[in-house]
């Protein structure tokens, strides 16, 4: 087994001592099958007693070893090493020290609803799942809180600039898992709704990066559906969805003009007049659809009875 030397650049930062992060280069003897955690452990034991990094389980279960390698968020316990790695903490989260980010206190992270008076007692009866449902539920409930999805979420990053606060994919996938088992899911759904799930841009960065393939974006979609069915989804998103259904049943294609009216109302849509005039000048203004499209009847036929909203 020949051993090379790996050159590694690590972003070091101690907020108590440093003004800003600094990049430090280290050299580590390479061994067969090495993972990034091996590199960090080697540095800690031989050269850098205060290197700040976390690990615990080695098996992608505890979520503490997540960080960026060459800009990509990974779990270092199972990430193979490469030449010229740049190791940095997860993006967008407060850095505690070096490669350790703030994973929040346990209750806030694992059971944020415990702080609220969701009147758990007596309402936490759980339904036994059908055998066919178990795999799906488990797939959601196995979130390890690695924070990778939160770290790549553009909507969460916008929170810092003020305005409505988005709860983030991590919290929302946890809520979807809770909701699935509750005999009375409404308090958890309303709690999820307070996380402004319609601020999700549906970019799928979370689903793409989740190291356990749990698909948080799809979980947000599922929460959206549950709230929509119960008429508890926020008004703009609700109107948006209903408008699509109406447009498609009437005219096959989306009536963009009608969409804005449905969401903002005839009076509210007036604020778009300057924009509309501009688009009219550029011959880009969508026209309202009058009359039914030829294929509308066919579409109505196949979609009838499938509307799941009472």
């Amino acid at each position: 087994m020949e051993s090379d030397i790996l050159t590694v650049v690590v972003e070091r930062y101690d907020p108590e001592r440093d003004k800003a992060p600094r990049l430090v280069t280290y050299r580590v003897p390479r061994q067969e099958g090495m993972v990034v955690a091996d590199v960090l452990l080697y540095l800690y034991e031989h050269e850098v007693p205060d290197l700040g990094f976390l690990w615990e389980c080695r098996t992608r279960r505890c979520g503490t070893c997540a960080m960026r390698v060459n800009g990509r968020p990974v779990l270092t316990c199972s990430e193979p090493v490469r030449e010229n790695m740049r190791i940095s903490p997860l993006e967008g989260l407060p850095v505690v020290r070096d490669l350790i980010v703030d994973r929040q206190e346990l209750q806030a992270r694992l059971a944020p609803w415990a702080a609220e008076a969701l009147d758990v007692r007596g309402k936490d009866a759980r339904i036994l799942l059908e055998p066919g449902e178990i795999a799906h539920y488990r797939a959601l409930s196995e979130c390890i809180d690695c924070f990778i999805c939160d770290s790549v979420c553009p909507a969460l990053a916008e929170n810092a600039k003020g305005g409505a606060q988005f709860a983030g994919p991590r919290r929302l996938i946890r809520l979807e898992a809770q909701v699935q088992r509750r005999a009375e899911p409404l308090p958890w759904l309303m709690y999820a709704a307070r996380g402004n799930l319609s601020l999700c841009t549906r970019c799928f960065a979370c689903t793409e990066e989740c190291p356990r393939e749990l698909r948080p974006a799809e979980a947000i979609g599922s929460l959206t559906k549950r709230l929509y069915e119960r008429h508890e989804l926020d008004p703009h998103k609700s109107a948006h969805i209903a408008s699509f259904v109406r447009s498609i049943l009437r005219g096959a294609w989306l009536d963009e003009f009608r969409l804005l009216v449905d969401i903002y109302g005839i009076v509210g849509v007036a604020k778009f007049i300057p924009q509309a005039l501009r688009m009219l000048r550029h011959r880009k203004l969508p026209k309202p659809h009058f009359g039914k499209a030829a294929q509308a009847r066919d579409i109505q036929t196949i979609l009838q009875g499938l509307d799941n909203r009472s």
């Binding site: 970019c203 698909r215 963009e256 924009q275 688009m279 196949i302 979609l303």
Partner: protein, 294 residues
């Protein structure tokens, strides 16, 4: 394969981005593709239907795919990233889950249609690169885009999730880069090139969406791009039609023209900016119109 494709315009190309449809038709004809427009198609329902009304989304899109199949076409070509992801998501389920296919076919049978899951859904960009080929495209270039620094903006729905899309690597996408190079231009790499434009948040919180889109434009500008190219008309609406809003919200002038992939290709093939509908854009691509209008 071959060069005959079902053309799914989607809603934006038919309404608020007519220049996209226009330039797609011109380019396809020049390259010798036969596009069979699915006039009787329907909106995919975007993300709304497949999330909130999944049964509807399955049947509605199964119909579109069945219409293409019934005409002997094996590829539905899209020009919008959201259409691409939605149709591909539905198609994937129909191909992998026979119970779901049967349920959809039960509804389709009421209008005399049946889908046999033989169609593929591919974006115009993919057809161009994988079917037609960049080398062959190079041979068709009449006016190389030299001196044009083009920011390759991918956005999300043409890349993620990769098990639905799978044409390009979300962590290091290259398709637009390679296209720009093949056309003689210089790709202006920028760090947010695969970030979301925020379109689907627009009717929820316009200021937030505008701030988001503006950030991408500024990033591209700071990398020296003359123009941004996008594969999705919804991204185009975010970043062209709504650019004045971004400028207002961010309190800064941006003035970055944003053009469609088909327009970029069309320019290199020798079509005039006017033919390609570049004059319709809200942010006028002044330099391009000046330099490419001979």
């Amino acid at each position: 394969m071959g060069n005959r494709y079902a053309y799914f315009q989607g809603c934006a190309a038919r309404q608020s981005c007519p220049e996209l449809n226009q330039s797609t038709l011109l380019v396809a004809k020049r390259l010798g593709w036969e596009l069979v427009t699915l006039e009787c198609g329907a909106c995919t329902g975007a993300r709304d239907l497949i999330e909130a009304q999944p049964e509807m989304a399955m049947v509605l899109n199964a119909r579109t795919l069945a219409l293409a199949e019934a005409q002997g076409l094996d590829t539905v070509m899209t020009v919008c990233s959201t259409c691409t992801i939605t149709l591909r998501q539905v198609n994937k389920i129909l191909k992998e889950n026979s119970a779901a296919l049967e349920r959809s076919n039960q509804e389709l049978s009421r209008i005399g249609l049946r889908y046999n899951a033989t169609v593929e859904v591919r974006h115009f960009l993919w057809v161009l690169i994988a079917d037609y080929g960049l080398d062959r495209l190079k041979g068709q270039v009449k006016r190389p885009l030299s001196d044009l620094s083009v920011a390759p903006y991918y956005g999300c729905h043409i890349l993620r999730p990769s098990d639905v899309l799978g044409f390009d690597d979300p962590d290091n996408p290259r398709s637009l880069h390679n296209l720009i190079t093949a056309l003689g231009g210089s790709p202006a790499d920028f760090s947010s090139q695969a970030d979301c434009c925020g379109f689907h948040m627009m009717t929820i919180d316009e200021n937030r969406a505008a701030r988001h889109a503006g950030g991408l434009l500024v990033d591209a500008q700071q990398q020296g791009a003359d123009v941004m190219v996008t594969a999705c008309p919804l991204c185009h609406i975010s970043m062209d039609s709504w650019q004045p809003k971004s400028e207002r919200v961010m309190k800064r002038k941006i003035g970055m023209p944003v053009i469609h992939v088909a327009q970029l290709v069309g320019l290199a093939l020798g079509f005039s900016p006017r033919e390609l509908g570049l004059e319709q854009h809200i942010i006028r691509p002044t330099e391009i119109i000046a330099n490419y209008s001979r």
